[in-house]
Subunit: 218 residues, 2 copies
């Protein structure tokens, strides 16, 4: 029984910070460190200590005065709470270079994401048997859903197909869309939507680099 | 001469939206559509029309009353402005599954990112010649920087090495860190920092899915 089962919709900034804490305490655990205070986490990650205490208050884990949190319990509590220790099945829709990369990225399964199938419109890709999961023609998604269901659809198709593929995935039973395409996919209420905006991050980096360069010119 | 050369530090929300507009007008261009109004973009992307006009006002592109923007000019202006039509050299630091995936992802070069080298600590990975770019031992970064310099360091190492690798990259001359690791990497002022928080997005998806499921239970 973990706190997520109590149906807490966490604020996005908290969900952004909790994985930082997890990554940090996992390192401490590997180093054999047994306890950590929110002040120490604060110094290491440059997050306000009171913010850390507030974020961690969502979890069923309590720090002790002048000792802090037990590292091992905190790793387990964070990992459970974030859903990383349960298996969530996903389809990759669009097996181009990024889609294939995500299928091959063994790291994701350590964080609770199990990719069970890929979909593509290209026969040459569909014929591949070396990716570790079966790749199907896009229109077979209904059939695959009844045999090997998944709840998450990872959209890695070209932007002009992103909305159509998301709609098809949702109509087959997918309940969360993780969009890696630069197209702004829209979903009905009740469908979970997350965007990983690689291109927006590139734009940010280029813009800030240009500003730096121009600053150096004058 | 483009607007970035005038040294505008764009707000992050604008930098998140501009790639949506670009992806959308690229689709229109492929369909042979010649003009588009901000009202039409607004309907397609569910972004307020006045927000779109405001975002586009950063660019040297003007819409015409009752006609709107010329699609081809808007594609070029957005692509230029976002830096996607210039080449920015990058190193991938950590050539595990995600790092290799980014090296292989030919899509990134269409957006102005040219990965020119990879770095790793694993001899078996360093020996590989099939990835399209040379892979070097991490400590050779100074030498590689003088022969084939890059400004962006893409961090795809395990969390416990992320800070150390970023520090090394910066000391070799890297001026922007694109961090894909769940560790919260810190950089000095004057170094550009962007996080692509895959794990935070996973946590968001899992949390919202759990909330949906619990809602359906009652």
């Amino acid at each position: 029984m973990n706190s997520n089962e109590e149906n807490i919709i966490l604020p996005e900034p908290t969900l952004r910070r909790l994985p930082w804490y997890l990554a940090y305490v996992e390192i401490l655990r590997a180093q054999g460190i047994e306890t950590i205070s929110s002040t120490q986490i604060s110094r290491a990650l440059s997050v306000d200590a009171s913010q850390i205490a507030k974020d961690l208050s969502f979890l069923n884990v309590k720090g002790k005065t002048r000792i802090g949190y037990e590292v091992c319990s905190l790793v387990d509590a964070l990992s459970d709470f974030l859903g990383f220790s349960r298996c969530h099945k996903a389809y990759v829709i669009g097996c181009g270079s990024l889609g294939k990369a995500l299928i091959r990225d063994s790291g994701l399964s350590n964080y609770g994401l199990e990719i069970v199938a890929g979909f593509d419109v290209n026969d040459a890709v569909v014929a591949r048997t070396d990716l570790g999961v079966p790749i199907y023609q896009m229109e077979r998604i209904y059939e695959v859903m009844s045999e090997n269901p998944a709840s998450i659809g990872i959209i890695t198709v070209p932007p002009e197909c992103a909305q159509e593929c998301a709609d098809l995935a949702i109509s087959s039973g997918i309940r969360a869309i993780w969009n890696f395409s630069p197209y702004r996919v829209k979903v009905a209420e009740g469908v979970v939507m997350a965007n990983t905006s690689i291109y927006a991050h590139l734009a940010l980096i280029f813009n800030r680099l240009d500003a730096l360069e121009n600053r150096h010119k004058f």
